[in-house]
């Protein structure tokens, strides 16, 4: 039935109908470069290659699942989380513009490692202070400390004095021990208190206060491996996330906690954002699973009256005092944060912590206006190109040209329907590929028509000439299309993002042009010839 005229018409109509149906229902998905949005390529952040390839691949697998949960809840339409190879993740967020990108990136990159630690008294830490100061002086040297002092000069105090212990300390020490020059120099370096001088006693037991402008230097000191080793056993220090205003100045709390957490976020079952009805502040309510709840209530029973630090990615988000035994539920007070932040925190807590930190290796963000601009321009270019092709074909081939143009119309519908049916993503290079494939679709027709003309010149009867024309052009069309298809498939294999889109568009275009030239044009020819005698002249 595929060879009778009626059968052929039915096949073509069905395909066109299906294409239009797909287009009507699902449309064509536009790439991020056309609709605007953010494209990220992420890898495990491991610059010194400390992880084995297997561990990295495993981490990526787990991260993929976690990110999918996080992003699904983020509220973007049709987001994409996909592995590219073993060690890379692609995240695409359509519609994320240049305003929301930092929020989106934060949501993706945040480790969301939640720990609950007991806050200790600062007395546990006091004994180590002298040792820490000595280590800092030893590692950085007096000169670079001076340089630091100049670099971070604060507005209210001479930082240099702060770091070097101030005049009073200096002079009193020089008085008591100053014998000869060398000893004095050594004493000076011995008695510098670069770290301790940054600390003021805190408002609560277990916390020091550090002026906001000194936080950077103090963090730098604390990060030194020598300082980490000098900390007392099973003690760690964490910054509080929020600032504390006292009089004219702002401070951050540096809290002394047990090193080991008694519960961590992996035992969480749920987390939701809420507005605290009493103080109208954002907060996150969380709920532990059975094991976590038991551990939490055991611990809090033993520590009524103590402070607990809720540590998120090494920073303390809140440090409540234990009023009573706490069961499986708790609250993180977010202070002055807005509800979006609370919602994001609840979301990342629910989705779970990332097993390894993520680095962004590629980021592309296209604003929606630029994308729309490209679509508009592509449409105009496509339209002008089509009109040009139509004119050339009809002027050159007359009646046959009209048939070819009709076949080209079918081709256009099939390509667009094919894009929709295969869920292909149309990118900017994809539009170019589409327009290029129009040129190639014409090529097949040109091959056939030229061949028919040649056969007619050789003196064959019209119908024979048409048959021969199609038959002889076949091998050239097949070989030419297949080689182009080979390059398109290779592009698909090696390309990323827009290039891949281009390869898909080109492949679908080639398949459609193949069909339209050999089947559709042929059918139109059969209809055209059906009313004629075998030797009647045709317009070509």
């Amino acid at each position: 039935m595929f060879n009778s005229i009626r059968g052929r018409i039915i096949v073509i109509l069905v395909l066109v109908g299906v294409s239009i149906g797909y287009l009507w229902n699902s449309g064509i998905k536009l790439g991020l470069d056309l609709q605007g949005g953010m494209h990220l390529a992420l890898e495990v952040d491991d610059p010194e290659s400390l992880m084995t390839p297997e561990a990295t691949a495993d981490a990526i697998d787990r991260i993929e699942r976690i990110l999918r949960t996080r992003i699904d809840a983020f509220g973007v339409e049709e987001p994409l989380v996909q592995k590219a190879g073993l060690y890379r993740l692609i995240v695409e967020l359509p519609g994320i513009g240049l305003g929301d990108e930092s929020r989106a990136k934060n949501l993706i990159q945040q480790a969301a490692f939640l720990e609950f630690k007991l806050v200790l008294s600062v007395t546990e830490f006091e004994s180590a202070l002298a040792r820490i100061d000595r280590q800092i002086v030893g590692v950085l040297g007096v000169d670079s400390l001076r340089a630091f002092g100049r670099d971070t000069e604060g507005p209210n105090q001479d930082i240099q004095d702060l770091i070097f212990g101030g005049e009073t300390a200096d002079s009193s020490l020089a008085d008591s021990t100053g014998v000869d020059e060398g000893a004095e120099a050594e004493d000076q370096s011995n008695n510098l208190r670069p770290f301790t001088s940054l600390l003021s006693s805190g408002d609560i037991e277990g916390a020091y206060l550090v002026a906001t402008e000194d936080v950077e230097v103090a963090t730098l000191f604390l990060a030194l491996p020598e300082v980490q080793r000098a900390l007392p056993r099973n003690v760690s220090v964490h910054w509080e996330a929020d600032l504390l205003g006292l009089g004219q100045r702002t401070y951050r709390r540096l809290m002394v906690t047990e090193e080991d957490a008694f519960v961590t976020g992996d035992l969480l079952e749920d987390a939701t954002a809420q507005r605290d009805p009493q103080f109208n502040q954002a907060q996150v309510n969380f709920q532990f699973n059975r094991a976590g709840g038991r551990r939490f209530s055991d611990f809090t029973t033993r520590h009524i009256g103590d402070f607990i630090a809720i540590v998120l990615d090494d920073e303390i988000v809140s440090a409540p005092v234990v009023q009573d035994r706490i069961g499986a539920q708790g609250v993180i007070n977010m202070g002055n944060a807005d509800m979006t932040e609370a919602a994001d925190l609840a979301l990342v807590l629910r989705a779970g912590a990332l097993p390894a930190p993520l680095a962004i290796v590629e980021e592309r963000t296209v604003g929606p206006s630029l994308g729309q601009d490209s679509v508009d321009r592509g449409q105009i270019a496509g339209l002008i190109g089509m009109v040009g092709v139509v004119l050339i074909m009809i002027l050159y081939y007359r009646g046959a040209g009209v048939l070819a143009v009709m076949a080209l119309g079918v081709y256009a519908v099939l390509v667009l329907g094919g894009l929709s049916a295969f869920n292909a993503v149309l990118t900017l290079p994809g539009i170019a590929g589409l327009i290029l494939s129009v040129g190639m679709a014409v090529d097949a027709n040109v091959l056939i028509f030229e061949r028919i003309r040649e056969e007619l010149i050789l003196g064959r009867a019209t119908r024979t000439a048409v048959d021969e024309g199609f038959a002889h052009a076949l091998s050239a069309i097949v070989d030419a299309n297949i080689t182009t298809l080979i390059t398109a498939l290779i592009l698909f294999q090696f390309g990323t993002g827009p290039v891949k889109g281009f390869a898909v568009t080109l492949s679908i275009g080639i398949a459609a042009s193949f069909f339209s030239a050999l089947y559709v044009t042929r059918t139109f020819y059969l209809i055209y010839l059906s009313g004629k005698k075998a030797s009647d002249p045709i317009s070509i």
């Binding site: 390529a41 240049l98 680095a359 962004i360 290796v361 590629e362 980021e363 592309r364 963000t365 296209v366 604003g367 206006s369 630029l370 490209s374 321009r377 592509g378 270019a381 496509g382 002008i384 190109g385 089509m386 040009g388 092709v389 050339i392 002027l395 050159y396 900017l428 290079p429 170019a432 590929g433 327009i435 290029l436 129009v438 040129g439 190639m440 014409v442 090529d443 040109v446 030229e450 003309r453 040649e454 010149i457 002889h472 091998s475 050239a476 030419a480 297949i482 080689t483 182009t484 080979i486 390059t487 290779i490 592009l491 090696f494 990323t496 993002g497 827009p498 290039v499 390869a503 080109l506």
Partner: protein
């Protein structure tokens, strides 16, 4: 109407002139690549996709000049600024400072905001690529070209004969070399779409060559084809396919021309590479691919000796 009807141009006889022309183009391109290596440190002007770094595309509400931007971004220390299509659109390429590309970009944004105010411009597009991704891209592009050569060679050797495949690959390599030469001379920025364009040229050039070769194959298999002087046969085949070659290239160029004129700045380089590739591909299918076929045949025979031997062996086996 029929262009080049019954054409009988002595195209094959012009092949030596064509060799000279091609060689001149290729040498000029290679010369320029060397010049580029000396002057800008790289044989092509690579974009951030390859080198790594950040790119910011901004559109100003009011007319702005590159000089104004340069002043706002630190005068002589400013990153490269290029006008991009429209009057008020610019791209700013921020080099990599250490590992943190993000900081560089935010810095530029802030500097522009202080100089021009918050509402004076919109950021249309930002790209940030780590050098590692760029290296991968370059390797993948080279591999893609290599694989497409190998696969098409195999396909053509299978569908035609090996010498057709070799000639097609030579013609395609010729097209890529000339295109790369033009890119080097005009310092077109090599970005992701440019790579796609170059690979499309591979496809198009093969497409064109194969149509001519298909006719050669047909004429060869026709009665008396093997006895005809190969030079004459190939020349006749080119002439017979000339109308098609010209018409198809014409329509394709018409479409690409439309894309170049109204397609916008984002796609301009891409379209230009394609137009160049189509032009060069058409030229090479006539003046390079077919002569290459002839030269291979002259030096290594047309495979008929092998066929004879095989035939003899077959005859012996049946006897």
């Amino acid at each position: 109407m029929r262009l080049f009807d019954q054409a009988k141009y002595p195209l094959i006889r012009m092949r030596h002139r064509a060799y000279g022309f091609s060689a001149a183009l290729i040498l000029a391109g290679i010369g320029w690549m060397i010049f580029n290596i000396v002057s800008i440190g790289s044989w092509q002007e690579y974009g951030v996709d390859f080198t790594g770094g950040s790119l910011i595309q901004v559109r100003f509400q009011q007319t702005a000049t590159a000089a104004q931007l340069r002043a706002a971004l630190g005068g002589s220390q400013a990153p490269p600024i290029t006008r991009f299509g429209e009057e008020n659109e610019f791209t700013i390429r921020a080099p990599l400072a250490g590992d943190d590309v993000e900081t560089v970009r935010v810095g530029i944004q802030d500097q522009l905001q202080t100089a021009f105010g918050n509402d004076a411009f919109t950021i249309l597009r930002t790209e940030t690529v780590s050098p590692k991704v760029g290296e991968e891209l370059e390797r993948n592009a080279l591999l893609a070209i290599l694989y497409s050569f190998v696969l098409t060679l195999i396909y053509i050797a299978f569908r035609f004969e090996l010498r057709f495949g070799l000639a097609a690959v030579i013609a395609t390599a010729h097209d890529i070399l000339i295109t790369l030469g033009f890119l080097a001379i005009f310092r077109v920025e090599i970005a992701l779409p440019t790579v796609a364009a170059i690979l499309t040229i591979v496809g198009y050039s093969l497409n064109d060559t194969i149509v001519v070769f298909d006719r050669v194959r047909e004429n060869l298999h026709a009665k008396g084809g093997r006895r005809e002087d190969p030079k004459e046969l190939i020349n006749r085949s080119i002439n017979e396919t000339l109308p098609r070659t010209v018409l198809t290239s014409g329509t394709t160029l018409a479409v690409l021309g439309a894309l170049l004129v109204v397609g916008g700045a984002v796609i301009r380089d891409f379209t230009m590479v394609l137009i160049l590739g189509v032009a060069v591909g058409t030229y090479s299918s006539i003046f390079v691919a077919s002569p290459a076929l002839l030269e291979i045949q002259k030096r290594f025979g047309d495979g008929s000796a092998n066929r004879e031997r095989r035939k003899k062996r077959g005859a012996k086996a049946t006897a």
